[in-house]
């Protein structure tokens, strides 16, 4: 007998960015139910929903008791199970003990034409209630979230404290517990609008949704988003404007409420002279990021109106609106105060201020830093093939890139440091202003085909981040484990994102140029002397450390929200293929290889497996390693299978390896796999003729080299 299973978990407010939590939990629980034989297969229909305070899943066709089963456990081979005196051997005694069985329970089986002893064990059917608590706990701990927590003296870890479980199978309440929380057939409604208990009558989706809606909970996030959009559009329309459309913000707001109600607010400054020239980026950041309000625009410009979405409805919303307006006024008035103070300084005064800001102990002031960035811009500009005028502008932007550091407004809105610099400076051209406004915006690091020529910006980003990496490495340690006090990972990620668009540009070279400048500064200007060898050693060490840890931010680099274990393995394998001594690190090339393997794995899994199996086979033959790193003598190839293989190898060498085009290489290698099989089947590699034998090993060596040119294949074995 099977029925839908409803599980609703009540938790304290879930972070809004964890939008897949209910989905993950639902999938994990379904897997647990399948493994425990309560569910025949992945449910064809299941339902999950998430609000800030609850995760709900309804899984169809769940049995109230698991299917019992018998399982055969194979023991030692019969010949090794008994001594010549018919006494059980130690192997058999151990096997019987571990299976809680007697000699009488043994049966004979045959496997691969060998006789074994075995015992049959029976797994009894279990009631769902007996196991469900354990299965839910496993499903919870397996969810993907950046940080899990504990609370009270509980040992369970989850994203936020768990408070209640509502569980029904069909219309039957289920009795079990998870972390001392007993399941019931009741839940609660909206925290303030319907806080009392809500009885759930059955695991029927429509009934559940209706019961919750009656208690002011819109369980569907899509419905909440739609409601918010409709309400906002209506309010914006009323005042003749449009909502600043921001899907991410609407999604975030929808994830923060169970019953959204939107209100219109107006910002009125208390300042005697309101600053109409306050940068619109500050207003946007204040409204969206700090208060999660949606600004109302007119002709693309800010009005003094905004929409605030409450998770509550009031008979009289006047007090509430006054409250939010007061907060908005306080924040924006503070921004105006800071803006006015900061604007009192001239360009010269802004730059002079940087003399008094210590960059890093022994590395001088921020003024020294911007001089180094400028120097690097000029150097990197040649590698990135900038025009003369682009180098001029990027160098000017480099000199000015820190003018907003330490200003009152940048202290409040650090994400806008570059933007503010572009506003504070009066005597620089518009190109420079654009560079300043954009260089810290990480969203612009991604490849954007519509962005046009971004080489000048990219050059400034690289100089800014690589100077930082080299400086911190020279003075302090890099990062280790989860400890990254200087945010080096973030810098490295930016460098990866930018350099992946510049084939042939060598990251190692750029880093060592920066290292040389740091070295010169330390030895010329400070008492903190450092030898060239020491610095090179530190840079090399850190460089490897950075590469070794690229997999830690593979998701961010490759734009995958939660990278799978396989993808991480691919990144590790490709990085590992870079020789420790290799000085030329082409990030674009690394990314191409990662993407090629990932795509192959996703679109042609069987082919991907064939690739790994074939590589294993080749590696096994190549027992003498580099000994056969010698040219292949075509005249010594006699067998048709080896001739055919050699011919294809030549084609691959010409078409892919010499051009560095890895995108199609894995597919080509898969095609080659059948030829390799044929070669192994038909050709005796260890031929009695030493010349022929060496030549065939050289062919194997070359084949292995093709595989290794993509990744260290051993790292791809699961």
């Amino acid at each position: 007998m099977s029925n839908p299973l409803l599980i609703e978990l009540l938790v304290e407010e879930i972070p809004p960015q964890l939008t897949n939590l209910a989905h993950d939990f639902s999938a994990n629980l379904a897997n647990q139910l399948i493994n425990a034989r309560f569910l025949a297969q992945q449910p064809t229909t299941s339902y999950c929903a998430q609000t800030p305070r609850r995760l709900t899943t309804i899984i169809d066709k769940v049995r109230s008791a698991s299917l019992g089963s018998t399982r055969l456990r194979r023991g030692p081979a019969r010949s090794r199970a008994f001594t010549d005196d018919r006494e059980p051997t130690a192997a058999l005694t151990g096997f019987l003990r571990s299976n809680n069985a007697d000699i009488d329970d043994l049966i004979d089986i045959e496997h691969n034409q060998i006789a074994y002893v075995a015992v049959e064990s029976t797994i009894a059917a279990r009631k769902l209630e007996e196991l469900l608590g354990e299965l839910i706990q496993k499903a919870l701990t397996d969810v993907v979230a950046p940080r899990l927590m504990r609370w009270g003296d509980n040992r369970l870890r989850f994203v936020r404290p768990l408070h209640g479980i509502c569980a029904l199978l069909g219309n039957q309440p289920l009795a079990f517990s998870v972390a001392n929380i007993s399941a019931t057939a009741t839940t609660v409604g909206h925290r303030f609008l319907a806080p009392g208990p809500v009885q759930i009558a059955s695991a029927n989706r429509d009934e559940y949704v209706a019961a919750m809606e009656k208690n002011y909970v819109m369980v569907s996030v899509q419905q909440r988003k739609k409601t918010i959009r409709n309400q906002c559009d209506e309010l914006a329309h009323k005042c003749g404007g449009q909502i600043d459309d921001d899907n991410d913000l609407v999604a975030q707001i929808a994830a923060m409420c169970e019953w959204p109600v939107s209100h219109l607010g107006t910002f009125t400054s208390l300042e005697k002279e309101p600053a109409d020239d306050l940068p619109h980026e500050v207003i946007t950041s204040c409204m969206k990021k700090h208060l999660r309000c949606l600004p109302i625009l007119k002709d693309g410009l800010h009005t003094r109106r905004f929409v605030f979405v409450a998770d509550n409805k009031f008979a009289d919303s006047g007090k509430h609106i006054l409250g939010i307006e007061r907060v908005m006024r306080a924040r924006l008035d503070d921004a105006i105060f800071c803006w006015k103070q900061d604007r009192k300084l001239s360009d010269k005064q802004h730059l002079a201020r940087l003399d008094n800001i210590t960059y890093l102990k022994n590395l001088g002031s921020v003024t020294s830093r911007v001089e180094r960035i400028e120097h690097l811009v000029k150097n990197f500009g040649i590698s990135l093939k900038l025009t003369h005028s682009q180098i001029e502008d990027a160098a000017c932007a480099a000199r000015m890139c820190k003018v907003a550091q330490g200003t009152l407004l940048a202290n409040e809105y650090p994400e806008l440091e570059g933007v503010l610099a572009s506003y504070y400076l009066r005597n620089v051209n518009n190109n420079v202003k654009t560079l300043l406004a954009n260089y810290l915006d990480r969203a612009k690091d991604h490849t954007d085909p519509d962005a046009g020529d971004t080489r000048d910006r990219d050059c400034l980003v690289l100089a800014h981040e690589i100077e930082r990496i080299a400086a911190i490495v020279a003075i302090h340690k890099g990062f280790s484990g989860s400890k990254d006090p200087f945010g080096l990972r973030r810098s490295m990620l930016r460098v990866l994102r930018v350099l992946e668009r510049y084939p042939g540009v060598d990251y190692a070279k750029l880093l060592f140029v920066a290292g040389k400048i740091i070295y010169d500064y330390l030895n010329a200007e400070t008492s903190h002397k450092i030898t060239g060898d020491d610095l090179n050693h530190k840079l090399n060490l850190n460089f490897q450390q950075l590469l070794d840890r690229v997999h830690l931010f593979a998701g961010e680099w490759l734009n995958v929200a939660t990278p799978s274990a396989e993808l991480v393995r691919i990144v590790k394998a490709v990085i590992a293929s870079i020789s420790k001594q290799q000085q030329n690190i082409d990030i674009s090339d690394i990314k191409q290889r990662v993407l090629a393997l990932a795509e192959l794995r996703d679109t042609n899994h069987a082919g991907y497996q064939t690739l790994l199996v074939t590589y294993k086979r080749l590696a096994k033959i190549n027992e003498f390693g580099d000994l056969f790193d010698v040219p292949i003598n075509e005249d010594l190839l006699t067998d048709p299978a080896e001739k055919k293989l050699y011919k294809k190898c030549t084609k691959i060498r010409q078409n892919f390896l010499s051009s560095g085009n890895y995108r199609l290489l894995p597919e080509q290698l898969i095609e080659l796999c059948s030829d390799i099989d044929e070669f192994f089947d038909q050709v005796l590699i260890n031929d009695p003729n030493p010349a022929k034998r060496a030549n065939r090993h050289a062919l194997v060596y070359e084949l292995l080299d093709y595989f290794k040119s993509i990744a260290t294949m051993e790292k791809l074995y699961s």
């Binding site: 809004p16 800030p52 927590m149 504990r150 009270g152 409450a310 998770d311 509430h320 210590t358 890093l360």
Partner: protein, 292 residues
Amino acid sequence: MYVQQLISELQHFWQQRGCSVLQPLDLQVGAGTFHPATTLRALGPEPWSAVYVQPSRRPGDGRYGRHPNRLQRYYQLQVVQKPSPDDFQQAYLNSLDQIGISGKEHDIRFVEDDWESPTLGAWGLGWEVWVDGMEITQFTYFQEVGGIVCAPVMGEITYGIERLAMFLQECDDVYALDWSPNLKYGELYRQNEKEQSFYNFELADVKLLLETFNASLDQSNLLLEQDPALVMPAYEAVLAGSHTFNLLDARGHYSVEARAAAITQVREQANKAAAAYCAQRTRLGHPLIQNN
């Protein structure tokens, strides 16, 4: 509701729930969390419940007494309970009800804000609490302090007294708050804000502060090297270093990178003090477990 009344109402509420009413730490600190009643008591297995007010100094937040919302010194009311009770969140909402903020009339939201004190090597997960968009409280479940995992977990509620009072008195200017029937907040603190802002931003001697910063951390190290380690003086020396760091920051001495380096220095010392505290409590046999 007067500010003084607000404080006593909240203290009374939490006292009823088993918290001991403590007094502020007599040192310059950035937040109520720095009080040993939170930082150190969050460590180890002993239960703990306390409520206290802590004057908190953030030199960089000063506005010369000219801004209606920003202060370089303000009050936090701190509640800590270990292990965090199951109904901690609901109890907090009841405390708001007690002072006249009801979820029926206001939009009360728990907005994700994972708290971190890099100088204390501490972090926790929780929220900032908004009432009609105004942040009035930080609500945290401590996960680590001084680099040591908290087990059991301490729950921490930090009420911003001025923010709450402004909300309750429907007041746009912090200096216009009624502290008591006869006294305005401005009469108490405006001149202080003005003078301290001048000192923090313009006059504090950077050279002297740098010497003090290094000396505080050295002193802390020396005290921890004693046998047995002098935990409280060592911890207080870390706090002195931390406040000096805040002053240097307000003076614009640090770049982002130099700031991170200084924070690392303070954290390393805070971690040592935390470890010494744990060792001391173990040596004493965790007396609060026995008392409970």
